[in-house]
Symmetry: C2
Subunit: 116 residues, 2 copies
C-alpha cells in the first residue's frame, strides 16, 4: 500500500475526428488495455450507452484511481481522463487510446493532484 499514500497525476485527453466511439466492446477493450499500459489494476468497468446514434459513457475504477471516457459520435469527439496515484504514469495510456480511436486531432493536459 506504500504507493497509495502518494497523491496523483491526472491526465485530461481530448480526441477529435475519432473512430469506434459508438462501439462498447472497443471502448471497454481500450480502457482495460490502457490500464494495463499504466500498470494499473482494474477493479470494475461500468459502461452506459445513451441509445442509437448517441454516445457512450464509461468509467473504469482502478486500484490506482480511475479512467473515464465520454463520447460524442455526432461530432466525432471523445473526452478521456486518466487519474493515477503512486508510480503509475497516466501518459502511458495515450498511445493505447490513439490506437483504438485513431483521432485526426488530439490534445492533453497533465495535472498534479494533491501537491499541497
Amino acid at each position: 500500500m506504500a504507493d497509495f499514500v502518494t497523491p496523483g497525476s491526472h491526465l485530461l485527453l481530448d480526441f477529435w475526428g475519432a473512430k469506434n466511439i459508438q462501439n462498447k466492446e472497443v471502448i471497454e477493450k481500450a480502457m482495460r488495455e490502457a490500464a494495463k499500459a499504466c500498470n494499473a489494476k482494474v477493479l470494475g468497468v461500468t459502461l452506459h450507452e445513451f441509445g442509437e446514434g448517441a454516445g457512450i459513457t464509461g468509467v473504469a475504477v482502478l486500484a490506482e484511481s480511475h479512467i473515464s471516457i465520454h463520447t460524442w459520435p455526432e461530432i466525432s469527439y471523445v473526452a478521456l481522463d486518466v487519474f493515477m496515484c503512486g508510480k503509475c504514469d497516466p501518459q502511458n495510456a495515450i498511445p493505447v487510446f490513439e490506437k483504438y480511436f485513431e483521432p485526426t486531432k488530439s490534445s492533453f493536459s497533465l495535472h498534479k493532484r494533491g501537491a499541497s
Copy 2:
C-alpha cells in the same frame, strides 16, 4: 438529447484537511447531493474501500458524465472531479462537497472539454 451534443465542463477540485473521508455513507451522500445541485441524473454509484485506515474511491456515472472521488485519509486529502456536459455547471458541486468534507484548504480548476 439536445444538450448532449455540447461538450463539457470539467472541474478538478482538491481538498486538504478534510473530514469524513473514510466514511462510505457520507461520501455516497455527498456525491448524490452534488449531482442534484448540478441538476444531473445519477445512473449509478460505485464505491471501493481500500481497507482499514486507507482511502475510498468512488465514481458516480451520470447522464451528464461523471463525478469521481479519491480519498487519502492518512494525509486528510481528497481529489474530486466533476465532469458535466450540457447546461449543467459543475461548480455547483463545490459547496456541497465543502459542507460534507469541511476542508481547511481547497483549490479548483475548471477545464472546457471539446472546444475545438
